[in-house]
């Protein structure tokens, strides 16, 4: 609260908090790209894609999995794993308190949700990052749950789909979080050697240690349209090179043009496209199984 608010009599205060309470919560949303005011129910029907400008809004890990998997036969894996404050890390806030706040805000224990299920009847394992949980950052729980997902695939010969959205490694777990990069990469290498398909779907935004490990290691790399994907943040690059960044830099379309990803897939087409890929690559397994 600024000093002027403090000295104003309460009658003439225009407290934004009070104001916002008069509006029914969650009835409408504003598109962050075109500013169009959208009814939440319409938006939800449209898989959280702006009907005006086609912008793919950020969505939670659970919602992501919900619109991707068949409704039946879902089993969540590694649900009860909780984060630990290994270093007793404290900056302006305690890491412990950040974890509590993130849990309250998202309802998740940490930044990754793992679900075994089916896509049009095809069994598979899906993992999705929760960006609302400390920026989807990867610490020990994310690494551990990712490996649980891989191990399930290895046990049951299943393909793995990952929806990555993350700011990178979790600073509050320091080097332990860095070690999740080789940990997840090594696990994925085992999938590769066992001929099990891994599709990495990059959704806005993916940066740092997550982009430089599991998110870039797909047999097939897919991105949603216009997602920001990179290793270094744009501010850091701008400070280093001291020049303007090219138009569309680090967007999905930039990555496609530079050969980093196989395709850009619209959220509405995600189920169809991935099903089409998985059935081809996993053909030998489905023949064996039947």
């Amino acid at each position: 609260m600024s000093w002027i608010n403090k000295i104003l009599p309460s009658k003439i205060k225009t407290d934004t908090e009070v104001k916002s309470r008069n509006i029914p919560e969650g009835l409408w949303k504003k598109c962050p790209r075109c500013d169009a005011v959208l009814y939440s129910s319409n938006l939800a029907e449209n898989k959280d894609i702006c009907p005006k400008c086609d912008h793919h809004l950020r969505i939670s890990a659970r919602r992501r999995i919900d619109i991707f998997l068949d409704p039946e036969d879902r089993v969540e894996l590694g649900k009860d794993i909780e984060p630990h404050d290994i270093l007793k890390f404290k900056d302006l806030k305690k890491y412990k308190d950040r974890l509590v706040a993130a849990k309250k805000a998202t309802g998740e224990n940490d930044a990754l949700v793992v679900m075994q299920g089916k896509l049009k009847g095809q069994p598979l394992v899906v993992v999705a990052f929760e960006f609302g949980f400390i920026g989807g950052s990867m610490g020990s729980v994310v690494g551990e749950k990712f490996v649980i997902a891989v191990n399930k695939c290895l046990e049951e010969n299943l393909p793995l789909v990952c929806f990555a959205t993350s700011g990178g490694a979790r600073m509050q777990e320091a080097l332990v979080s860095l070690m999740q990069m080789p940990k997840t990469s090594a696990a994925l290498e085992r999938m590769k050697q066992n001929g099990l398909l891994y599709i990495s779907v990059l959704v806005d935004p993916v940066y740092g240690g997550v982009s430089a490990s599991l998110a870039m290691l797909g047999d097939i790399n897919v991105a949603e349209p216009n997602a920001l994907i990179g290793f270094a943040g744009q501010d850091v690059i701008r400070q280093t090179v001291r020049e303007n960044l090219p138009e569309g830099f680090q967007r999905s379309e930039f990555l496609l043009a530079h050969g980093a990803i196989d395709m850009i897939v619209h959220r509405k087409d995600m189920r169809d496209k991935l099903y089409s890929l998985i059935t081809k690559f996993m053909h030998s397994y489905s023949v064996q199984a039947s």
Binding site: S140, M171, L175, A186, M216
Partner: protein, 317 residues
């Protein structure tokens, strides 16, 4: 201020100045002042011991970046014989921020891959200040796969501010270059021993850092983000870099406690740069011992051991 000494070392620098002045005076006048010089030298030694017995994580971070600190090229010179440098990623360029090649360590042929920051301005520019672009990591990858085919142990030396954050780096897929290196190293069929010699910053370090043994020199640092970067994001100001270094636990002693680092190689009094030969000799002994332990392992056992080491990190079970 003497640039060869860090700010917390300035009292030592002042004493060294006095000692040198006395030496000059003595030489000019044929005066016998050796006793005085001895006294001052002892004082300098004591002061150095005292300062170095209680270094803060931030002071260690500064030592890890000391301008005179030995680099990969120095370790090769002091430890190995018949080094042959190998260049290029066969795709785009030869990134000189990563130095690679084959040499003998005693009588064992080894593949050496390490960051090289450079020392003169010309060399620093040529080596991009030790910040590799994708082609650097792809050169490293090529050399590792070459070492695998010829059953050579791979020794890596980590000393980088990080992978280069530039438009070209991103366009050529720096994230893929780092990720693929880690994946390949996790199953490379020869022993890999990594040593952090200076500063190991984040993805740029781990991209040549997956290993069977991880060593750190006593005054080297290893982190997921630089103390300055961490302070800027979490404390909202780079001024809190010392707090960030403390909180992250960037030193070998802390990382050994966390079970990430296997061995700390002690440095000479005052740091590795005060006696490069001694530092290199100590590191060489460690490396030879570790190579001997790994060399006779069955390949499957070696890879299983490496995989388990990786899975252990941050595991709740």
């Amino acid at each position: 201020m003497n640039p060869d000494y860090l700010d917390f070392e300035q009292p030592i620098a002042d004493l060294e100045v006095k000692i040198n002045e006395l030496r000059l005076v003595g030489a000019d006048n044929n005066m016998n002042i050796s006793e005085e010089i001895d006294n001052l030298q002892e004082k300098s030694h004591k002061l150095t011991t005292k300062i170095f017995s209680s270094l803060s994580p931030w002071q260690i971070s500064m030592l890890a970046r000391h301008p005179l600190r030995p680099q990969t090229e120095d370790y090769i010179r002091y430890m190995c014989t018949e080094f042959e440098e190998l260049h290029g990623d066969r795709m785009f360029a030869d990134d000189q921020s990563i130095l690679g090649g084959v040499a003998y360590l005693d009588d064992i042929p080894v593949m050496i891959i390490g960051h090289q920051k450079g020392r003169s301005t010309e060399e620093k520019v040529r080596r991009n200040f030790g910040m590799p672009k994708p082609e650097g990591y792809r050169k490293a990858r090529r050399l590792m796969l070459l070492a695998e085919r010829y059953k050579m142990p791979v020794l890596t030396f980590i000393d980088t501010l990080g992978a280069y954050p530039g438009v070209d780096s991103e366009a050529r897929g720096i994230n893929e270059a780092i990720a693929e290196n880690m994946a390949i190293m996790s199953r490379l069929k020869v022993p890999i021993i990594a040593t952090v010699t200076g500063e190991g910053n984040s993805g740029g370090a781990i991209a040549i850092g997956v290993c069977d043994y991880l060593n750190m020199l006593e005054y080297s640092t290893y982190y997921v983000i630089s103390p300055e970067g961490c302070a800027t994001i979490l404390w909202k100001s780079a001024d809190y870099k010392a707090d960030a270094a403390e909180a992250m636990g960037v030193t070998s002693s802390r990382l050994e406690e966390l079970g990430i680092v296997d061995r700390t190689v002690p440095e000479p009094l005052g740091g590795a740069h005060r006696d490069m030969q001694l530092t290199a000799t100590r590191l060489k002994e460690t490396l030879l011992e570790q190579i001997r332990q790994l060399k006779n392992m069955d390949v499957d056992a070696l890879l299983e051991r490496r995989y388990k080491r990786l899975m252990r990190h941050g595991s709740s079970s």
